[in-house]
């Protein structure tokens, strides 16, 4: 990398440092507790994966630029400036070795939000050209095509045709004035089209109108994952424009963890103004329907099942009760993992890790944390609410010879809906 781009990276990291970040660095006592919270450290035993170490270059920049003592030390040659080798060495820790799961932030005794620090240091690594290829490609496609996986509108249209043909249900495109604007993740379109059908059936039963924007159907935000705020803002703006143009009251983020926090909490800060519509995760919408008596289900699953909390939903989005209440509608044999809800362990594939092929081996090591949780519990079925968690879990289970099917919660609920005669099913 040229020294110019390293300079840019350093400048960007410097710009990210605000009072919270400075208070975190000032407070760190090197107690190492955060390591015990992180599946990457716990499963590899490699101390480099200690969360606070992942932002060490940022700490040095902070100390040298924003503290008197640090400046003196730097002038006296007692501390070394961050250089290209540091970017080289930390790239793997910052991207491959962190799923931005936020677990470390919850255990730090002095209250450091380490996960957010890592999210921020990525901004510097991305501009310095030190981001993994997989994420760079995904981000480029998100900007150029509108989907990190290169999913085009025609694919969605094909699915909508299929939906109409096989179930008689419609997924209306660009319908102004609908109650809900539904976003999808590319993962759902490509791998789990059942989600779209589930939404169509649930909305029909609840008697709500909904629409998908042909210009902004993608929910995920690669800009947030790679750490390029300009791009992240542009991707958010597309959804905002679509929602405002269609005049919807609520935008629904799909079964994807980070898509939700990106649009719900980061979004307004990225574009610099509040929205004039609400953003809800699909599980929040379903929970509202349940409370209003709009969801009618029949039958209960008899399999012993548990719920894998997507990190972004529980730890950064606060959606904890909804999935449990919803599961209660369709099963009596629900059991909790030992560490669940806000202390759940990550599947290992979040925060852009699963988009980064280079990280595959590390990701599968980190999965062993999930494996041990599941081994202890012995369940027949695993339910979750994130398409990325779902594939990561399926892959991990497969590699470990564990025969546990993984299902999306929305889909499972839709499967239990009381069919209303004359609706759906016909061609």
């Amino acid at each position: 990398m040229s020294s110019a781009s390293i300079e840019k990276g350093i400048r960007m990291i410097r710009e990210q440092i605000d009072a919270p970040i400075a208070s975190f660095f000032s407070s760190c006592v090197h107690c190492g507790m955060c390591a015990d919270a992180c599946h990457f450290y716990v499963q590899t035993g490699d101390p480099r994966y200690t969360p606070i170490n992942k932002v060490e270059p940022m700490r040095r920049i902070w100390e040298q630029e924003y503290t008197l003592w640090g400046r003196i030390k730097a002038t006296l040659g007692l501390s070394r400036k961050v250089n290209a080798q540091d970017f080289e060495a930390w790239e793997e820790l910052v991207y491959d070795g962190c799923s931005l799961c936020g677990r470390c932030s919850l255990v730090c005794p002095v209250g450091n939000d380490i996960s957010d620090m890592i999210r921020k240091i990525r901004e510097g690594f991305a501009v310095a050209g030190h981001a993994p290829e997989g994420l760079v490609g995904a981000t480029r496609r998100a900007v150029e095509i509108g989907s990190p996986m290169g999913v085009r509108l025609s694919a969605l249209e094909a699915q909508i045709r299929h939906l109409k043909h096989d179930t008689g249900l419609d997924a209306p495109l660009d319908q102004a004035g609908a109650d809900y604007l539904v976003l999808l993740s590319s993962m759902e379109i490509m791998n789990f089209p059942e989600y779209l059908e589930a939404i169509a059936r649930i909305m029909q039963q609840a008697g709500k109108t909904w629409t998908i924007s042909s210009r902004a159907f993608e929910a995920t935000n690669s800009g947030v994952q790679i750490g390029v705020s300009d791009i992240a803002a542009e991707l958010v703006q597309r959804v905002v424009d679509a929602a405002e143009e269609l005049g919807v009251k609520t935008v629904i983020s799909p079964e994807c963890g980070h898509a939700y926090t990106a649009i719900r909490f980061e979004g307004p800060n990225l574009i610099g103004r509040p929205y004039n519509f609400r953003v809800q995760h699909i599980l929040e919408v379903l929970e509202e329907f349940r409370q209003q008596g709009l969801l009618k289900t029949k039958g209960k699953e008899t399999d012993r099942m548990t719920f894998h909390d997507p990190c972004q939903l529980v730890r950064k989005g606060g959606v904890i009760e909804a999935p449990r209440n919803l599961l209660g509608m369709v099963t009596d044999s629900f059991v909790e993992m030992r560490d669940h809800a806000e202390m759940n362990w990550c599947c290992g594939g979040g925060g852009g890790v699963s988009a980064n092929e280079r990280a595959d081996e590390l990701k599968s090591k980190a999965f062993n944390q999930k494996k041990s949780q599941l081994d202890e519990l012995g369940v027949d079925t695993l339910v979750t609410a994130c398409a990325n968690c779902r594939i990561t879990l399926e892959e991990g289970l497969e590699r470990n010879d564990m025969d546990i099917p993984v299902i999306g919660l929305t889909e499972m609920l839709a499967d239990h809906l009381v069919e209303e005669p004359g609706k759906g099913g016909e061609t």
């Binding site: 009072a19 000032s26 760190c28 101390p47 924003y66 919850l106 989005g317 606060g318």
Partner: protein
């Protein structure tokens, strides 16, 4: 220099200097943090940031069960030396008299026998902390010279206080002077090491708690 002159320096000029460095150093550190500011959160809140911030300042004092189970010794030991240190600092009668003389504030203390025992406990706890730091792969990896310095300047006041009280090693007057100097060393070093956490932890907890409160998530 006689022991008496030594003691009076420690009590007089030495202390004044140390206190000045401590107070201005800490204020500077806090100013360095706060002056960076932060942007307002424009996202629709689900709860109160202020409540979340205040709550986290308190609740983060206790560990989460899931992590406690992994490192019980390290965590309990952390409580022991924090509580032990604060107890001998603030609940030893002669210390309280000193606070009274300097600030006009006083409060009830603990019997000296208990303070003496707490002192021993704190010393052993700090030694264990060092042993853990030298043996745990994570702690060893994270530790810098500054961590060991912070450890040393924390240990010295407790150790010298214990020696002075029990008339060990040096004549009382000389040991007392060494004790006071060690406190001054702690005060001088604190603003330039991780010991700033004695104040800044509240800011850190506040910021994380504020954000969590706004989002309506656990913290």
């Amino acid at each position: 220099m006689t022991a008496d002159a030594f003691l009076s320096f420690a009590r007089g000029t030495g202390f004044d200097w140390a206190l000045t460095i401590f107070v201005f150093g800490m204020l500077l550190r806090l100013f360095e943090v706060l002056s960076l500011g932060r942007k307002p959160d424009l996202s629709e809140g689900r709860g109160s940031g202020v409540q979340g911030g205040l709550k986290t300042i308190v609740t983060r004092t206790l560990p989460r069960a899931a992590v406690f189970a992994r490192e019980p010794v390290r965590i309990i030991n952390g409580y022991v030396f924090h509580i032990g240190f604060l107890a001998v600092l603030f609940l030893y009668e002669p210390h309280i008299e000193l606070f009274d003389a300097k600030m006009g504030l006083s409060w009830p203390g603990l019997p000296t026998g208990i303070i003496n025992a707490l002192g021993v406990l704190t010393i052993f706890s700090l030694l264990l902390a060092l042993a853990l730091r030298l043996t745990s792969p994570v702690l060893k990896f994270l530790s810098t010279g500054s961590d060991y310095l912070a450890w040393l300047v924390t240990l010295l006041p407790v150790l010298t206080g214990y020696l002075a009280y029990n008339h060990m090693l040096l004549p009382y007057t000389a040991m007392l002077a060494v004790h006071i100097l060690s406190v001054e060393l702690l005060m001088v070093v604190a603003p330039f090491t991780k010991l700033t956490h004695m104040f800044s932890f509240m800011l850190a907890r506040w910021y994380q708690g504020y954000r969590a409160g706004h989002r309506g998530v656990e913290s």
